[in-house]
Symmetry: none
Subunit: 212 residues, 4 copies
Amino acid sequence: MSISTERRYENQRQVAIRSAASVFAEKGFHGASTRDIAERMGIKQGSLYYYFKSKEEALGEVCLFGIEEYVERMKTIAASEQPFEAKLMATITSHLSSYRERNEALKVHNDERLYLPEDKREKLKELGSGYRQQLEKIFEEGVKVGVLRDSIDCHFAAQTMIGLCNGWGDLIVRDPYLDLFDLIQKCTDLVLHGFVERRKKQRNEMVMEKNQ
Amino acid sequence: MSISTERRYENQRQVAIRSAASVFAEKGFHGASTRDIAERMGIKQGSLYYYFKSKEEALGEVCLFGIEEYVERMKTIAASEQPFEAKLMATITSHLSSYRERNEALKVHNDERLYLPEDKREKLKELGSGYRQQLEKIFEEGVKVGVLRDSIDCHFAAQTMIGLCNGWGDLIVRDPYLDLFDLIQKCTDLVLHGFVERRKKQRNEMVMEKNQ
Amino acid sequence: MSISTERRYENQRQVAIRSAASVFAEKGFHGASTRDIAERMGIKQGSLYYYFKSKEEALGEVCLFGIEEYVERMKTIAASEQPFEAKLMATITSHLSSYRERNEALKVHNDERLYLPEDKREKLKELGSGYRQQLEKIFEEGVKVGVLRDSIDCHFAAQTMIGLCNGWGDLIVRDPYLDLFDLIQKCTDLVLHGFVERRKKQRNEMVMEKNQ
Amino acid sequence: MSISTERRYENQRQVAIRSAASVFAEKGFHGASTRDIAERMGIKQGSLYYYFKSKEEALGEVCLFGIEEYVERMKTIAASEQPFEAKLMATITSHLSSYRERNEALKVHNDERLYLPEDKREKLKELGSGYRQQLEKIFEEGVKVGVLRDSIDCHFAAQTMIGLCNGWGDLIVRDPYLDLFDLIQKCTDLVLHGFVERRKKQRNEMVMEKNQ
DNA sequence: AATGAATGAGAGTTCATTCAT
DNA sequence: TATGAATGAACTCTCATTCAT
């Protein structure tokens, strides 16, 4: 087996994973057939088994493909020396743009991973937990440095941010013209400041305080 | 056909819908079998067809069941005379508690409705859009009365809130011990004020303002 | 059980047989469902079993109903003192008009009787054979009295006439406006004289005979 | 896809069509199961779907197979330069022998084609109508050249001949020892001359004519 | 590296039939 | 006399998977 042969195999396997991702995202794991996947990559059904031992393995690979880099980036962000706000925005950017770049594999991970057998789900669970914990830590730091309120529940914060991004992820996948840049700004702003008008309130409060 | 006969049928049909909701939530539409559903309600597979014309019809009924009351409640909330903050919290309460009360039917609606044929999806789409628009209007009012910032995008706000609640919905369904009351408080707080510490900022700003 | 009760039962049973005949004729025995039959007579599926022990029994009754009177009439015709031509036409008339009068039951007998179990088919076979034999005898008489050619095969003649009438029977059932009277004339004429022009031939032959 | 592969597929498909024809002829479309068909060709039920998209498609193919060549031959006969009597006998020969050669597919066409959906039946209808019209034309020519009587209804003649042959077709299929050659002679003779003794009649008529 | 052919398990669905009411 | 409810067997069809080529 020459190097180029091996390379070509790996390349084709990547194509297979992306095809599977695309089909699983569209029809769900059980709703998708191996014929669908094979057709999307331009080969015949039986040939798919040259790249995957089973349909389930395909799902496993797609989920891994979907979450791996996503987690990797989070590590980088968490380890970086930026201020809290920057980290937050970087996280959101990374999360949302994953939906565009990874052929819907992240969506598949979110929606279909529980159809994997326990043992294959383990690895994914770790990765996912790791992600959430890193995010939690970022929030905790935010609290420690006084940017965030003492009162917030960092576990809740992390979980919420993930859910919020995943919610938008669905829409991103469905609507290819959605403006990611704009979306990132707005999400970041919401998580930081909420929707309430502060200036006026402050003034009112200040006035009240003065009057006291 | 006596009244009691009709009643009995309707009752059993409700049981069937709830069973289907439960199974669809667990295994997804394509992953669930009609035998699963029948078994969960204690009848044999073939008998299910006394209540549903097809598995697909069952999905349709579940989705409708999941979203109907949910939309109904939103109308009530939107039409009420409460201040913005109360409406917001009512919405979140309604949304999150639906996941507990309706046998996971709302989750099924969110995740599986797109496996319905176009015509059956229409009605759901309208209901869903109605919900979002009502929510948007609530935000718009919040802006008008000055509680919310002028700058916020109400469409984004509504969509985000829905995504955020749905994200937690998944977790609510999976973890029956999750404290809904606590969760509602935190979500409301996030949407209103974000996570950032305001006092300090205010002080800083006050100082700056003084110095001016 | 009063007489009127019994009468009513027999009446309803006749309705059931006619309904079954109509449905079997339209969809075939295996293509028809007991629900179809019940609906056509305005009762519910389960109630049909008050009149028939099984779907198969229904078929049996329909076949019998279809062929009984038909055979009966043939006996009358064969026993009568008419000349051959009149008997032939009477037979054709009887056969073809059966398709109109008996709710397609004769058609069902022709097309579906072989889905009956051996023992139930026996009786029908006898009836059918009887019919054919009577018809054969009519032809044999025709030969004996010199109206028909010596050379003809009476078994073939009978079989052919039956097939020919059944062929038109299908068309009669499908087209309610078909002119039976006209049809009977033409069939009789065909069987007697064929389509060939005789006069000319006769003249030729006469000429030839003269020349001899 | 090599030529031999394609050939093999087409061959096997033909086998499938013939198997289906045989089973449909025996049990009817609704009475036959796909398992029956598969078994008759020595494969497993599921494998049948490698050759047919559905049971219905199988029926369509069988009907087409049954009627196609049959119509083709009629064209040849109609276009030939033979005298009327020869054409008639050729038609009967072609029709009756089809029942032997085509694996009962013609019988299936006759009895089961109406279980096909409208669109698939269209083509068959055209073919069938074409056949009848060709046959009508042959009769019309027979009249024109004076072999047949002026008075005959050619539409009736064609329809009758078809019905008559189909009637015998059923018997041919059921009884493999039936003497086709003999049958063809007799049918032709019937259609041409009927069963009536002509000599005597002629003599009578001659006598009458003389007396005039 | 890929494919045609086949398979067996299981899916959704229909339906004749039963029976308490 | 008729029905609602249920059943279980059979049916058509799909599909993941295998394997010789």
